[in-house]
Symmetry: C3
Subunit: 329 residues, 3 copies
């Protein structure tokens, strides 16, 4: 069990704290469940009453929170400060250590320093693995792929040949990267496969949720930009380009060759059809069907997707019409 | 090939039967495909004509079915009686036997009696496995997790650290349990990961379909209640609480921290947004987008979801309006 | 790096070409990225300007393209000709070779000629594998299953017992075939599992995308017809029958016992409810919710799905009504 003093915590997150620096914290917990040896935090004002009743030993709160309490550590961003403390002392996860004798690493693969590879992993020919990479059991990395420094790959991930993954990425269990794109041409009463000979490139600091699939391009590359975070069960089609720092929530699907800008947010279960362009900072609401380009900064919603305001107006109108039994005049 | 007499079958399901008790049954089949050595059943009245033409050697029918036939076994619930017979004599599936020499079990793991573990399985440190548990090949169970008695885990399932799974659960191929929840905070032009240090708890008698993903909580627990049945490719976000005896059909997605009551049915491809409360016995129709709380017992449908009656009224009105070309008066 | 002369290429695809037959091609690329040693192609007329500016060494173009260029190879179907060239010379993917000593093949399994099996694969009792089959690492094939000649199975695929897969199929990473269908009956306050004792049969020339799930039938068979192509993360319920040469795009879900004809196209994220019949050559637009039978050749769209024309008319009417603020007269 980790233990850390409030003094160490305050030194780390840089907050203001007038309580006992030598008090020891052994856990992190939500306000409602915290015990006296736990650190908690208050972010959402609607939970403010909890901050008075909680048994937590210390609470990260906003600099400007009204009132006072010897247990409060005042910081600019309580959520981020809490995350920092958790990442430093309370998030130890058991990781693979060393290279398992049950892993199969091709002789021509090049491993960086301090690489950990679990059992039942297969690393193909000419694969390059950077420094401090951790690969859990059952992972398959096909020939010619490259994994950047400090990337973590959880169990049973499949990475097809010639995939390039950046530094500090996190790939969760069951993800499949680089499978063939969905490309066929019909002739003489059959669908003929169009060979998918492109590849996938994932930039630095990308996280990919469990069982997500990212297809290789037919030609050229499928790209996931730096810092983009992808949730579980998302589908990225062949040749899609996702910009930097995007958020793709669970079960989103993006069809082939669509280009998504930077800082775009796509909420859960939305679908984007093929060959579209989505501008920077666009926001796509949950379960939307995007069938046309979306301009920079636009918010869209609906199936088919329309500007957020149009959607709201349409909904209001429909509700009014139903009340009038469809006889508006 | 299994063989069982009609006498044994009747003794097992407790029905009324006046035919030959020593006749031997060797298979189970739908009415239309059954051969004279097969048992079949009639549930849906629309197939009643088949019960007269089928070649089945015996048929489980409802106690009050009009007519008579020496092959009929009359029971209260033909479907359930059929399931009982199938489970007893006709559902043998090849299972792992013993502990494979190709499995890797950490020295500190504790195994119950009669545990079967297939090859290429890795069981981490301090994992607890109950009695009569079957674990197929390629499964990964990370440190500190616990699996209850008689649970079956099919190939290539990934269970992250500190996950707790109850008794008599069935986890199908490719499921990922305990991956990090999707939590980030933006600062200085980047998304920063919020460590996900909670866990997942799955109660007794839960079944989870292939390639479904269940994320661990940021803090605290993600919970799947006793007797709940989850279909394939379902996404359960971090901190979600699902009650007891719920049905979640394929490709449903539930966003973080939403709480679902008991006996709730959520049809395929529906999505529930975050921090909602869904009351007991609520029913959510297929492909709904639930953006607000749903009261106990309510039926909702649509995107956004609305009461079932409102949805039907709206559809009727729209159909009428289109017929009138949008000029209702 | 492969190299092939333009003469060889023209002999293969049968086109008309007046340029230098001995010129060597070393790569394939899109028009915009091609270098002088690369072959490219023009299909979409909207990229016609690129065909004049590209640096490609040779370009497959349509027989009737206006103009002339010594680099052009004129063919009937440039996309198909390009695919043929790529498949012949530029699509070499590293494949498993021989039978890995780290694979576990049951003694009673029967392997055809020239079978390749990667490490950490388990082949169960009585499995039959045809000639020239390639099975990547981490695949699980349970007892009594059969795999036809020349089929390729990518890493970490799970095939439950008694599944039958045809010839020349391609099964991508993480696919799960033959898991239990979602069948329960409620009694005495609990859901009871209906044993799923049917199987799955996949005919010849089927391709299945990453992490797709196909459930076994409760009784009888789930069937995927010859030449059908299934994208990633698709869900096929128990007892579904898909006809020949269908296209099922990513994240589609088909509920139990629905029957889909031949040459049906189902676009991404659509859902079909159970016990439906979808006629030959029907087309279902993206994100539709199909709740009723669809006749042969019909095009449907929407949630709930309606004829394509009705959907368009409804949308037009709604747009008009919103502009008039819901006061159409």
């Amino acid at each position: 069990m980790p233990q850390v003093s409030l003094g160490e915590i305050v030194d780390k997150v840089g907050g203001r704290f007038d309580g006992p620096r030598d008090r020891v914290i052994r856990a992190v917990a939500p306000l409602g469940e915290a015990t006296p040896d736990a650190l908690s935090f208050l972010e959402n004002p609607k939970y403010e009453s909890l901050v008075r009743t909680t048994r937590a030993g210390a609470i990260l709160v906003s600099s400007d929170l009204a009132g006072d309490d010897a247990r409060w550590i005042r910081v600019d961003n309580p959520r981020l400060a809490f995350a920092t403390v958790v990442a430093e002392w309370f998030s130890r996860r058991p990781m693979p250590i060393g290279i398992s004798p049950q892993a199969l690493v091709a002789p021509s693969a090049r491993l960086g320093r301090n690489v950990a590879i679990g059992p039942f992993v297969r690393i193909g020919e000419e694969v390059e693995i950077g420094d401090n990479v951790s690969i859990f059991q059952g992972v398959s990395i096909e020939a010619g792929s490259a994994i950047g420094d400090e990337t973590v790959i959880y169990p049973n991930v499949v990475i097809y040949d010639r995939t390039r993954i950046g530094k500090r990425c996190i790939i969760h269990g069951g993800v499949v990267i680089g499978g063939d794109g969905y490309g066929f041409t019909a002739r003489a009463g059959r669908h003929h496969k169009l060979p998918q000979v492109g590849s996938v490139r994932i930039e630095d600091d990308v996280e990919i949720g469990s069982n997500t699939t990212i297809d290789r391009a037919a030609l050229g590359e499928t790209v996931i930009g730096e810092g983009t975070k992808i949730d579980n069960l998302v589908q990225i089609g062949h040749g899609v380009k996702i910009g930097k720092h995007c958020l793709l929530v669970a079960q989103v699907g993006i069809a082939g060759s669509t280009e998504v800008g930077n800082w775009v947010a796509i909420a859960g279960q939305s679908g984007l059809s093929e060959h579209l362009k989505i501008g920077d900072r666009a926001q796509i609401a949950a379960k939307s069907a995007v069938l046309a380009d979306v301009p920079e900064g636009a918010k869209v919603m609906g199936s088919p997707a329309m500007p957020f305001r149009s959607f709201v107006r349409r909904e209001a109108m429909l509700r009014r019409l139903v009340q009038k039994k469809g006889q508006p005049c």
